[in-house]
């Protein structure tokens, strides 16, 4: 799949390389090249602003899918500690979900993330981050365990969607996702979810019911992939760009709608240009949210979570109006 952001940043990367070369040369050579370097640097920054200063929704989709964008494991590896737990206890361990106990800024958490690969080989192993029912059942199991043990839940969302294969249907993909929603709704501990890449449909929401939802600036989160939406509505997946624009899938849109709670800004050029900073900022936000949520009583926490989702999309509601009892 072509990625427009990868294409467009190619020239920039070339420029970056040349500036670096010049800088190196400048140290060892007698001629002062500072002026040339500054000029190139200025041109680089102009180009960068031009390309990344404003991203369309479709460009953000590509940014969210960028092969170098930090994945769940990039976040998890920066936790103070991580002990991976495996399996659904029944059928299989799904490598598209990485999960386990961890310490975040000294605080015990149960972390779980959707994990895609960086290369073809790992993508095959991780099924491109598309989770199978066994993966969702691992999530359910660990969410339940975390709730019982009073350990907060931290999730990282990064998937095109749930795995749409034959075996996944045969193993009741619907039920697996539904029971994740159920378990997250029931959980007696704080839940913080971060959408770090693509948040695709019910397969993303399965890890997304949370007391605090964070989104990276250029992540997207949508009811269906733009391609899927275009195919469903117009029978034409190539109209994905139009669908991306209509779906209001950007962090800013969703923040305005009250569907997410916080946006973590990305450096110009995207999260993959300064991954360490982005990862640490997100983890900081997660940590602050956990601190705030940890002060709430279990009942208050669960009531607030209920009301948060109860409110979404409830315009023009009358509480209970009775009609049709004419007989």
């Amino acid at each position: 799949m072509n990625n427009s952001i990868v294409e467009r940043e190619r020239g920039l990367l070339e420029l970056e390389r040349r500036i670096a070369e010049l800088r190196n040369a400048n140290v060892s050579q007698p001629v002062d090249m500072s002026a040339e370097i500054a000029a190139l640097q200025q041109k680089y920054e102009e180009l960068q602003r031009e390309i990344f200063g404003h991203l369309t929704p479709w460009e953000k989709v590509h940014m969210a899918r960028h092969p170098n964008r930090p994945t769940s494991l990039d976040y998890i590896s920066q936790l103070d500690r991580f002990d991976e737990l495996h399996g659904d206890r029944m059928f299989r361990d799904d490598p598209a979900i990485v999960a386990g106990f961890a310490l975040l800024h000294g605080r015990p958490v149960m972390v779980m993330g959707q994990q895609r690969g960086r290369d073809t080989k790992e993508n095959l192993r991780r099924n491109f981050g598309m989770v199978t029912p066994e993966g969702y059942r691992k999530v359910q199991r660990l969410a339940h365990t975390a709730s019982r043990l009073d350990v907060p839940i931290v999730t990282f969302i990064d998937t095109k969607g749930a795995d749409p294969g034959i075996t996944s249907e045969e193993h009741a993909q619907s039920e697996a996702i539904a029971k994740c929603l159920y378990e997250f709704t029931e959980a007696r501990v704080p839940i913080v979810a971060s959408i770090i890449g693509e948040g695709g449909s019910g397969g993303a929401l399965a890890l997304g019911i949370a007391d605090h939802v964070i989104m990276l600036e250029h992540s997207v989160y949508s009811v269906a992939s733009p391609e899927g939406c275009a195919a469903i509505l117009w029978g034409d997946a190539t109209k994905a760009e139009e669908a991306a624009a209509r779906l209001k899938l950007t962090a800013a849109d969703l923040r305005a709608f009250g569907i997410i709670d916080e946006i973590v800004p990305e450096p110009l050029g995207g999260a993959h240009r300064e991954p360490a900073t982005v990862v640490s900022t997100v983890l900081g936000s997660v940590s602050m949210a956990l601190q705030r949520l940890g002060a709430m009583s279990t009942d208050a926490l669960r009531e607030a979570r209920y009301q948060k989702y109860r409110r979404i999309g409830a315009w023009e509601t009358e509480r209970l109006e009775v009609i049709g009892t004419s007989r």
């Binding site: 159920y182 399965a206 989160y221 779906l247």
Partner: protein, 290 residues
């Protein structure tokens, strides 16, 4: 089965238009059937037993003894994304209202079935393919909350092509909202039954449809998470005919029972009976406290 006045009045113009057609052709065996005969046979083909997709009010009429007190009927779709493609979203909605005689993709309310009071929600594929948007989510949530308040069992008939694209993430979030309401209802020990009718897919399938105590399905109903076309595109081959049918899912352990429409009401009433003592006790406890 005479149609109650309240029901006739709710049907409006769209339903009359539909009812005006004298005959229907069975999409499975091709048999031409008089609408009147078809209705008398609960919209099941008299030749091949094909279960036609039913209109919500026909379904309610088939199940509920007498009056049916609707919940959330006044809740109407907004246009949160200000959606436009060939038409605006409000125009699409208006068209579906006209065509289907329904105000949205689900009808919810309280009534009795063979004397058992029940909260009943019926989705209707004729309204935007039964897609779940905020109105469907809100009405079902109101229904589930009312069931909880009144210690009633809840039955939801699903029929859905998935989430409604034109409402974007608001549509997706209805999976969370309805699940939250289901959770509370079930935590209180109320019976929750879903009846999966053709088709039940996507966001409805992956939320309340499979969270219930008993998952019933109608014969041959298509049930799955991913649509058939999506899977075929992914695997680049045709799927066998029975894939994702109710019978297939029964064998795969995903659903509890496949019930012919003629036995459906009796089956549901029996399920209500098994758990009615619990409901009675719960009500008594509430009254004792008053």
């Amino acid at each position: 089965m005479p149609m109650p006045d309240w029901l006739r009045s709710r049907r409006g113009k769209g339903a009359d238009t539909r009812d005006a057609a004298l005959w229907s052709k069975c999409p499975v065996c091709g048999e031409v059937l008089y609408r009147r005969d078809l209705a008398a046979n609960l919209f099941v083909c008299t030749k091949c037993e094909h279960h036609f997709r039913m209109h919500a009010y026909d379904r309610i009429n088939m199940l509920i003894d007498g009056d049916f007190t609707e919940i959330g009927a006044a809740v109407q779709a907004g246009d949160p994304l200000e959606w436009v493609d060939k038409k605006t979203y409000p125009v699409k909605i208006a068209g579906d209202k006209e065509k289907s005689g329904l105000s949205e993709g689900v009808v919810a309310g309280i009534g009795t079935m063979d004397g058992f009071e029940v909260a009943l929600g019926v989705m209707d594929f004729h309204f935007r393919g039964g897609t779940m948007g905020t109105v469907v989510g809100e009405r079902l949530t109101m229904l589930l909350e009312e069931a909880r308040r009144r210690h009633l069992p809840c039955i939801i008939f699903t029929a859905s092509g998935g989430a409604r694209m034109e409402e974007g993430m608001f549509a997706l979030m209805q999976m969370a909202k309805t699940t939250a309401a289901v959770t509370r209802l079930m935590d209180d020990g109320n019976l929750f039954v879903t009846v999966l009718t053709d088709p039940t897919t996507g966001g409805v399938s992956a939320s309340f449809a499979f969270e219930s105590d008993v998952v019933v399905a109608e014969p041959k109903a298509m049930i799955g998470f991913a649509g058939r076309r999506v899977i075929e595109q992914t695997i680049r081959q045709k799927l066998p005919d029975q894939f994702q049918t109710a019978e297939f899912l029964l064998e795969k352990g995903a659903i509890d029972m496949v019930v012919d429409r003629h036995d459906l009401k009796n089956t549901l009433v029996r399920l209500l009976q098994y758990t009615s003592q619990k409901q009675v006790r719960a009500l008594q406890q509430v009254q004792d406290k008053l």
